[in-house]
Amino acid sequence: MSAHVPPTTDSPAVPDLPEAVRRVQRGDVAAFEVVYRANVDRVYALCLRMCGDSEAARERTQDVFIRCWERIGSFRGESAFSTWLHRVAVNVVLEASRSTKRRLARVEPTADVDAIGGRMRESSPELRMDFEAAVRGLPPGARRAYVLHEIEGYKHHEIARLTGTAAGTVRAQLHRARRLLMEALS
Protein backbone atom coordinates (compact mmCIF):
# COMPACT_ATOMS: atom_id res chain seq x y z
CA MET A 1 0.00 0.00 0.00
CA SER A 2 1.52 3.29 -1.01
CA ALA A 3 1.68 6.27 1.25
CA HIS A 4 -0.84 8.90 0.35
CA VAL A 5 0.22 12.50 0.79
CA PRO A 6 -2.80 14.56 1.70
CA PRO A 7 -3.52 17.40 -0.68
CA THR A 8 -4.03 20.78 0.88
CA THR A 9 -5.40 23.99 -0.49
CA ASP A 10 -4.09 23.33 -3.97
CA SER A 11 -6.71 20.70 -4.72
CA PRO A 12 -8.80 21.31 -7.80
CA ALA A 13 -12.40 22.37 -7.51
CA VAL A 14 -14.71 19.76 -6.06
CA PRO A 15 -17.38 18.88 -8.62
CA ASP A 16 -20.11 17.75 -6.24
CA LEU A 17 -20.72 17.01 -2.59
CA PRO A 18 -20.54 13.18 -2.65
CA GLU A 19 -17.20 13.48 -4.36
CA ALA A 20 -16.16 16.08 -1.79
CA VAL A 21 -17.10 13.69 1.00
CA ARG A 22 -15.03 10.93 -0.58
CA ARG A 23 -12.11 13.28 -0.85
CA VAL A 24 -12.48 14.33 2.76
CA GLN A 25 -12.34 10.67 3.68
CA ARG A 26 -8.93 10.61 2.00
CA GLY A 27 -7.76 13.57 4.08
CA ASP A 28 -8.47 16.42 1.65
CA VAL A 29 -8.77 19.60 3.68
CA ALA A 30 -9.84 21.70 0.68
CA ALA A 31 -12.73 19.32 0.02
CA PHE A 32 -13.67 19.61 3.66
CA GLU A 33 -14.06 23.35 3.23
CA VAL A 34 -16.64 22.63 0.53
CA VAL A 35 -18.45 20.26 2.86
CA TYR A 36 -18.28 22.84 5.63
CA ARG A 37 -19.70 25.65 3.53
CA ALA A 38 -22.49 23.47 2.20
CA ASN A 39 -23.61 22.46 5.67
CA VAL A 40 -22.64 25.14 8.14
CA ASP A 41 -25.94 27.05 8.05
CA ARG A 42 -27.91 23.96 8.92
CA VAL A 43 -25.50 22.91 11.65
CA TYR A 44 -25.35 26.41 13.13
CA ALA A 45 -29.14 26.69 13.18
CA LEU A 46 -29.37 23.46 15.11
CA CYS A 47 -26.62 24.46 17.53
CA LEU A 48 -28.02 27.95 18.09
CA ARG A 49 -31.50 26.69 18.81
CA MET A 50 -30.34 23.81 20.95
CA CYS A 51 -27.77 25.79 22.94
CA GLY A 52 -29.77 28.96 23.37
CA ASP A 53 -26.81 31.33 23.10
CA SER A 54 -24.63 32.35 20.24
CA GLU A 55 -21.23 31.83 21.86
CA ALA A 56 -22.04 28.24 22.81
CA ALA A 57 -23.49 27.75 19.34
CA ARG A 58 -20.21 28.93 17.79
CA GLU A 59 -18.23 26.48 19.91
CA ARG A 60 -20.57 23.59 19.17
CA THR A 61 -20.62 24.33 15.46
CA GLN A 62 -16.85 24.14 15.37
CA ASP A 63 -16.91 20.99 17.50
CA VAL A 64 -19.36 19.42 15.06
CA PHE A 65 -17.12 19.96 12.08
CA ILE A 66 -14.01 18.81 13.91
CA ARG A 67 -15.91 15.68 14.98
CA CYS A 68 -17.09 15.29 11.42
CA TRP A 69 -13.50 15.39 10.18
CA GLU A 70 -12.41 12.89 12.79
CA ARG A 71 -15.23 10.45 12.14
CA ILE A 72 -15.92 10.83 8.47
CA GLY A 73 -14.18 7.52 7.86
CA SER A 74 -17.15 5.85 9.51
CA PHE A 75 -19.59 7.38 7.02
CA ARG A 76 -20.45 4.51 4.70
CA GLY A 77 -22.96 6.26 2.50
CA GLU A 78 -25.87 4.24 3.85
CA SER A 79 -27.76 7.49 4.46
CA ALA A 80 -27.39 10.95 3.00
CA PHE A 81 -24.27 12.70 4.23
CA SER A 82 -26.38 15.57 5.54
CA THR A 83 -28.39 13.11 7.63
CA TRP A 84 -25.20 11.60 9.04
CA LEU A 85 -23.79 15.05 9.80
CA HIS A 86 -27.03 16.11 11.44
CA ARG A 87 -26.85 13.10 13.73
CA VAL A 88 -23.26 13.95 14.59
CA ALA A 89 -24.34 17.51 15.36
CA VAL A 90 -27.19 16.43 17.64
CA ASN A 91 -24.84 14.11 19.50
CA VAL A 92 -22.18 16.79 19.91
CA VAL A 93 -24.69 19.28 21.29
CA LEU A 94 -26.28 16.77 23.63
CA GLU A 95 -22.91 15.56 24.91
CA ALA A 96 -21.90 19.14 25.62
CA SER A 97 -25.17 19.88 27.37
CA ARG A 98 -24.79 16.78 29.53
CA SER A 99 -21.32 17.92 30.49
CA THR A 100 -22.55 21.43 31.28
CA LYS A 101 -25.45 20.04 33.22
CA ARG A 102 -23.12 17.99 35.38
CA ARG A 103 -21.06 21.09 36.13
CA LEU A 104 -24.05 23.22 36.93
CA ALA A 105 -26.11 20.52 38.58
CA ARG A 106 -26.71 22.57 41.67
CA VAL A 107 -26.88 25.92 39.99
CA GLU A 108 -29.31 25.49 37.10
CA PRO A 109 -32.62 27.01 38.13
CA THR A 110 -35.74 24.93 37.98
CA ALA A 111 -38.04 26.28 35.35
CA ASP A 112 -41.38 27.60 36.37
CA VAL A 113 -43.81 28.18 33.58
CA ASP A 114 -45.31 31.39 34.90
CA ALA A 115 -42.05 32.85 36.11
CA ILE A 116 -40.20 32.21 32.87
CA GLY A 117 -43.03 33.37 30.68
CA GLY A 118 -43.32 36.52 32.74
CA ARG A 119 -39.58 37.10 32.75
CA MET A 120 -39.40 36.76 29.00
CA ARG A 121 -42.16 39.31 28.55
CA GLU A 122 -40.89 41.77 31.12
CA SER A 123 -37.22 41.69 30.26
CA SER A 124 -37.65 42.12 26.55
CA PRO A 125 -41.00 43.09 25.08
CA GLU A 126 -39.78 42.51 21.54
CA LEU A 127 -39.32 38.81 22.37
CA ARG A 128 -43.09 38.48 22.07
CA MET A 129 -42.69 38.87 18.36
CA ASP A 130 -39.41 37.03 17.85
CA PHE A 131 -39.94 33.33 17.57
CA GLU A 132 -36.23 32.46 17.42
CA ALA A 133 -35.43 34.52 20.49
CA ALA A 134 -38.35 33.00 22.33
CA VAL A 135 -37.09 29.50 21.53
CA ARG A 136 -33.63 30.42 22.74
CA GLY A 137 -35.17 31.74 25.95
CA LEU A 138 -36.69 28.38 26.88
CA PRO A 139 -35.17 26.36 29.72
CA PRO A 140 -32.63 23.83 28.42
CA GLY A 141 -34.63 20.60 28.63
CA ALA A 142 -37.76 22.12 27.16
CA ARG A 143 -35.75 23.84 24.45
CA ARG A 144 -34.00 20.64 23.36
CA ALA A 145 -37.28 18.73 23.24
CA TYR A 146 -38.98 21.51 21.32
CA VAL A 147 -36.22 22.04 18.77
CA LEU A 148 -35.71 18.36 18.12
CA HIS A 149 -39.44 17.64 17.79
CA GLU A 150 -41.02 20.72 16.28
CA ILE A 151 -38.20 22.00 14.11
CA GLU A 152 -36.01 18.99 13.41
CA GLY A 153 -38.83 16.48 13.19
CA TYR A 154 -37.65 13.86 15.66
CA LYS A 155 -40.31 11.69 17.28
CA HIS A 156 -40.78 11.55 21.05
CA HIS A 157 -39.15 8.14 21.41
CA GLU A 158 -36.19 9.19 19.27
CA ILE A 159 -35.61 12.23 21.47
CA ALA A 160 -35.94 10.04 24.55
CA ARG A 161 -33.26 7.72 23.21
CA LEU A 162 -30.94 10.58 22.23
CA THR A 163 -31.28 12.41 25.52
CA GLY A 164 -31.45 9.37 27.77
CA THR A 165 -34.79 10.35 29.25
CA ALA A 166 -38.20 8.72 29.33
CA ALA A 167 -40.60 9.40 26.47
CA GLY A 168 -43.08 10.76 29.00
CA THR A 169 -40.51 13.26 30.20
CA VAL A 170 -39.84 14.37 26.66
CA ARG A 171 -43.56 14.86 26.13
CA ALA A 172 -43.84 16.88 29.33
CA GLN A 173 -40.88 19.06 28.31
CA LEU A 174 -42.40 19.59 24.90
CA HIS A 175 -45.76 20.63 26.37
CA ARG A 176 -43.98 22.97 28.74
CA ALA A 177 -41.98 24.49 25.92
CA ARG A 178 -45.12 25.17 23.93
CA ARG A 179 -46.84 26.75 26.91
CA LEU A 180 -43.87 29.04 27.50
CA LEU A 181 -43.66 29.97 23.86
CA MET A 182 -47.36 30.65 23.73
CA GLU A 183 -47.01 33.05 26.62
CA ALA A 184 -43.90 34.69 25.26
CA LEU A 185 -45.33 35.19 21.79
CA SER A 186 -48.86 36.20 22.68
Binding site: M1, S2, A3, H4, V5, P6, V24, Q25, R26, G27, V29, F32, E33, Y36, R37, V40, D41, R42, Y44, A45, L48, S54, R58, T61, Q62, F65, I66, W69, E70, R71, I72, G73, S74, F75, R76, E78, S79, W84, R87, V88, N91, F131, E132, Y146, E150, I151, H156, R171, L174, H175, R178, R179, L181, M182, L185, S186
Partner: protein, 213 residues
Amino acid sequence: MTDHISEDRLQDLLDERLSAAERHTIEEHLSACGACADRWAAWVELRDRASRAPRGITPPADWWPEIRAAIEQRKIVPMGGGGAGSPRPWWTRPIPAIAAAAVLIVLTAALTTWLTRQSSPPAPVTAGAMAIQVTEYERTVGTLLGQFEAQWRRLPPAAQVEVARNLMVVDSAIREIRTVLQEEPGNETLLGVLLASYRQKVALMEHVTQAAS
Protein backbone atom coordinates in the same frame (compact mmCIF):
# COMPACT_ATOMS: atom_id res chain seq x y z
CA MET B 1 -70.09 25.57 27.54
CA THR B 2 -68.22 25.03 30.81
CA ASP B 3 -66.28 21.81 30.24
CA HIS B 4 -63.43 23.19 28.18
CA ILE B 5 -60.71 21.03 26.72
CA SER B 6 -57.54 20.96 28.76
CA GLU B 7 -54.29 22.29 27.42
CA ASP B 8 -52.66 18.85 27.56
CA ARG B 9 -55.49 17.36 25.51
CA LEU B 10 -55.08 20.04 22.89
CA GLN B 11 -51.36 19.34 22.75
CA ASP B 12 -52.06 15.61 22.47
CA LEU B 13 -54.32 16.42 19.56
CA LEU B 14 -51.52 18.47 18.06
CA ASP B 15 -49.16 15.52 18.44
CA GLU B 16 -51.74 13.13 16.96
CA ARG B 17 -51.65 11.01 20.07
CA LEU B 18 -55.39 10.58 20.45
CA SER B 19 -57.56 7.71 19.31
CA ALA B 20 -60.04 8.31 16.56
CA ALA B 21 -62.87 8.40 19.08
CA GLU B 22 -61.09 10.88 21.33
CA ARG B 23 -60.22 13.06 18.38
CA HIS B 24 -63.81 13.00 17.18
CA THR B 25 -65.08 14.08 20.61
CA ILE B 26 -62.66 16.96 20.80
CA GLU B 27 -63.34 18.09 17.25
CA GLU B 28 -67.03 18.13 18.01
CA HIS B 29 -66.37 20.29 21.03
CA LEU B 30 -64.16 22.62 19.03
CA SER B 31 -66.87 23.14 16.48
CA ALA B 32 -69.24 24.25 19.21
CA CYS B 33 -66.95 26.15 21.61
CA GLY B 34 -65.43 29.38 20.35
CA ALA B 35 -63.07 29.74 23.31
CA CYS B 36 -61.54 26.31 22.80
CA ALA B 37 -61.48 26.78 19.03
CA ASP B 38 -59.48 29.98 19.54
CA ARG B 39 -57.04 28.21 21.85
CA TRP B 40 -56.69 25.38 19.35
CA ALA B 41 -56.03 27.82 16.54
CA ALA B 42 -53.27 29.38 18.63
CA TRP B 43 -51.60 25.99 19.14
CA VAL B 44 -51.80 25.27 15.45
CA GLU B 45 -50.33 28.68 14.66
CA LEU B 46 -47.44 28.00 17.02
CA ARG B 47 -46.79 24.65 15.35
CA ASP B 48 -46.86 26.30 11.95
CA ARG B 49 -44.38 28.93 13.07
CA ALA B 50 -41.99 26.14 14.02
CA SER B 51 -42.47 24.41 10.70
CA ARG B 52 -41.79 27.69 8.90
CA ALA B 53 -38.56 28.26 10.83
CA PRO B 54 -35.63 28.28 8.41
CA ARG B 55 -33.59 25.07 8.27
CA GLY B 56 -30.40 27.06 8.14
CA ILE B 57 -29.10 30.20 9.82
CA THR B 58 -26.01 31.86 8.46
CA PRO B 59 -23.35 32.19 11.17
CA PRO B 60 -22.31 35.72 12.07
CA ALA B 61 -18.73 35.08 10.95
CA ASP B 62 -16.68 32.71 8.82
CA TRP B 63 -15.38 30.06 11.19
CA TRP B 64 -13.68 27.95 8.56
CA PRO B 65 -10.19 29.35 9.28
CA GLU B 66 -10.53 28.36 12.95
CA ILE B 67 -11.77 24.89 12.10
CA ARG B 68 -9.06 24.39 9.55
CA ALA B 69 -6.43 25.58 12.02
CA ALA B 70 -7.77 23.21 14.67
CA ILE B 71 -7.56 20.30 12.27
CA GLU B 72 -4.11 21.13 11.01
CA GLN B 73 -2.53 22.23 14.27
CA ARG B 74 -3.73 19.17 16.10
CA LYS B 75 -2.95 16.99 13.09
CA ILE B 76 -6.32 15.40 13.43
CA VAL B 77 -6.89 12.92 10.64
CA PRO B 78 -10.15 11.39 9.56
CA MET B 79 -10.36 7.87 10.84
CA GLY B 80 -13.08 5.29 10.56
CA GLY B 81 -14.78 3.37 13.30
CA GLY B 82 -16.77 4.44 16.29
CA GLY B 83 -18.64 7.19 14.51
CA ALA B 84 -22.30 7.94 14.51
CA GLY B 85 -24.28 5.05 13.21
CA SER B 86 -21.34 2.73 12.59
CA PRO B 87 -22.00 -0.68 14.07
CA ARG B 88 -19.20 -2.26 16.04
CA PRO B 89 -17.55 -5.09 14.14
CA TRP B 90 -18.53 -8.50 15.38
CA TRP B 91 -15.09 -9.26 16.74
CA THR B 92 -15.28 -6.33 19.13
CA ARG B 93 -18.18 -7.86 20.99
CA PRO B 94 -17.28 -9.10 24.45
CA ILE B 95 -14.98 -12.07 24.51
CA PRO B 96 -13.30 -13.22 27.74
CA ALA B 97 -10.95 -10.59 29.01
CA ILE B 98 -7.68 -11.76 27.65
CA ALA B 99 -7.31 -8.40 26.02
CA ALA B 100 -5.31 -6.56 28.63
CA ALA B 101 -2.32 -8.86 28.47
CA ALA B 102 -2.68 -9.55 24.80
CA VAL B 103 -2.77 -5.85 23.93
CA LEU B 104 0.62 -5.48 25.51
CA ILE B 105 1.92 -8.36 23.40
CA VAL B 106 0.54 -6.84 20.23
CA LEU B 107 1.89 -3.43 21.11
CA THR B 108 5.28 -4.96 21.74
CA ALA B 109 5.15 -6.87 18.48
CA ALA B 110 4.03 -3.80 16.59
CA LEU B 111 6.71 -1.67 18.21
CA THR B 112 9.33 -4.29 17.35
CA THR B 113 8.14 -4.30 13.76
CA TRP B 114 8.28 -0.55 13.68
CA LEU B 115 11.74 -0.31 15.22
CA THR B 116 13.06 -3.05 12.95
CA ARG B 117 11.87 -1.12 9.96
CA GLN B 118 13.51 1.98 11.34
CA SER B 119 16.90 0.22 11.56
CA SER B 120 17.05 -0.03 7.79
CA PRO B 121 17.47 3.29 6.01
CA PRO B 122 13.93 4.63 5.96
CA ALA B 123 12.53 7.22 3.66
CA PRO B 124 11.58 10.24 5.72
CA VAL B 125 7.93 9.97 6.55
CA THR B 126 6.06 12.80 8.20
CA ALA B 127 3.40 12.38 10.82
CA GLY B 128 0.88 13.71 8.33
CA ALA B 129 1.84 11.16 5.71
CA MET B 130 1.69 8.36 8.26
CA ALA B 131 -1.72 9.56 9.31
CA ILE B 132 -2.85 9.34 5.73
CA GLN B 133 -1.50 5.79 5.55
CA VAL B 134 -3.61 4.98 8.58
CA THR B 135 -6.63 6.24 6.70
CA GLU B 136 -5.64 4.06 3.76
CA TYR B 137 -5.45 1.03 6.03
CA GLU B 138 -8.89 1.87 7.40
CA ARG B 139 -10.18 1.95 3.87
CA THR B 140 -8.56 -1.38 3.10
CA VAL B 141 -10.16 -2.88 6.17
CA GLY B 142 -13.52 -1.58 5.01
CA THR B 143 -12.97 -3.06 1.57
CA LEU B 144 -11.97 -6.44 2.94
CA LEU B 145 -14.68 -6.61 5.55
CA GLY B 146 -17.53 -8.17 3.60
CA GLN B 147 -15.47 -10.90 1.99
CA PHE B 148 -13.59 -11.51 5.20
CA GLU B 149 -16.75 -12.00 7.24
CA ALA B 150 -18.16 -14.38 4.66
CA GLN B 151 -14.99 -16.46 4.67
CA TRP B 152 -14.66 -16.33 8.43
CA ARG B 153 -18.07 -17.95 8.79
CA ARG B 154 -16.80 -20.93 6.82
CA LEU B 155 -13.96 -21.57 9.25
CA PRO B 156 -14.19 -24.30 11.87
CA PRO B 157 -15.56 -22.96 15.16
CA ALA B 158 -12.22 -23.15 16.94
CA ALA B 159 -10.55 -21.20 14.15
CA GLN B 160 -13.35 -18.63 14.19
CA VAL B 161 -12.75 -18.01 17.86
CA GLU B 162 -9.01 -17.76 17.39
CA VAL B 163 -9.31 -15.31 14.53
CA ALA B 164 -11.86 -13.24 16.42
CA ARG B 165 -9.63 -13.18 19.45
CA ASN B 166 -6.66 -12.02 17.43
CA LEU B 167 -8.64 -9.30 15.72
CA MET B 168 -10.01 -8.15 19.03
CA VAL B 169 -6.52 -7.88 20.41
CA VAL B 170 -5.27 -5.90 17.43
CA ASP B 171 -8.30 -3.62 17.59
CA SER B 172 -7.75 -3.07 21.29
CA ALA B 173 -4.18 -2.10 20.55
CA ILE B 174 -5.34 0.30 17.87
CA ARG B 175 -7.84 1.88 20.21
CA GLU B 176 -5.21 2.26 22.92
CA ILE B 177 -2.78 3.92 20.56
CA ARG B 178 -5.45 6.23 19.21
CA THR B 179 -6.34 7.30 22.72
CA VAL B 180 -2.76 8.27 23.41
CA LEU B 181 -2.49 9.93 20.02
CA GLN B 182 -5.33 12.25 20.94
CA GLU B 183 -2.98 13.68 23.56
CA GLU B 184 0.10 13.55 21.35
CA PRO B 185 -1.19 13.77 17.79
CA GLY B 186 2.24 14.44 16.30
CA ASN B 187 4.01 11.53 17.98
CA GLU B 188 5.61 9.76 15.04
CA THR B 189 6.65 6.72 17.04
CA LEU B 190 3.10 6.12 18.11
CA LEU B 191 1.87 6.66 14.57
CA GLY B 192 4.43 4.11 13.44
CA VAL B 193 3.17 1.61 15.99
CA LEU B 194 -0.36 2.34 14.90
CA LEU B 195 0.60 1.67 11.29
CA ALA B 196 2.26 -1.58 12.28
CA SER B 197 -0.90 -2.62 14.12
CA TYR B 198 -2.97 -1.88 11.05
CA ARG B 199 -0.56 -3.90 8.94
CA GLN B 200 -1.13 -6.83 11.27
CA LYS B 201 -4.89 -6.39 11.07
CA VAL B 202 -4.95 -6.21 7.29
CA ALA B 203 -2.54 -9.16 7.01
CA LEU B 204 -4.75 -11.27 9.24
CA MET B 205 -7.89 -10.36 7.31
CA GLU B 206 -6.20 -11.06 3.99
CA HIS B 207 -4.86 -14.35 5.29
CA VAL B 208 -8.32 -15.52 6.33
CA THR B 209 -9.86 -14.33 3.09
CA GLN B 210 -7.27 -16.09 0.95
CA ALA B 211 -6.95 -19.24 3.06
CA ALA B 212 -10.64 -19.97 3.05
CA SER B 213 -11.18 -19.28 -0.63
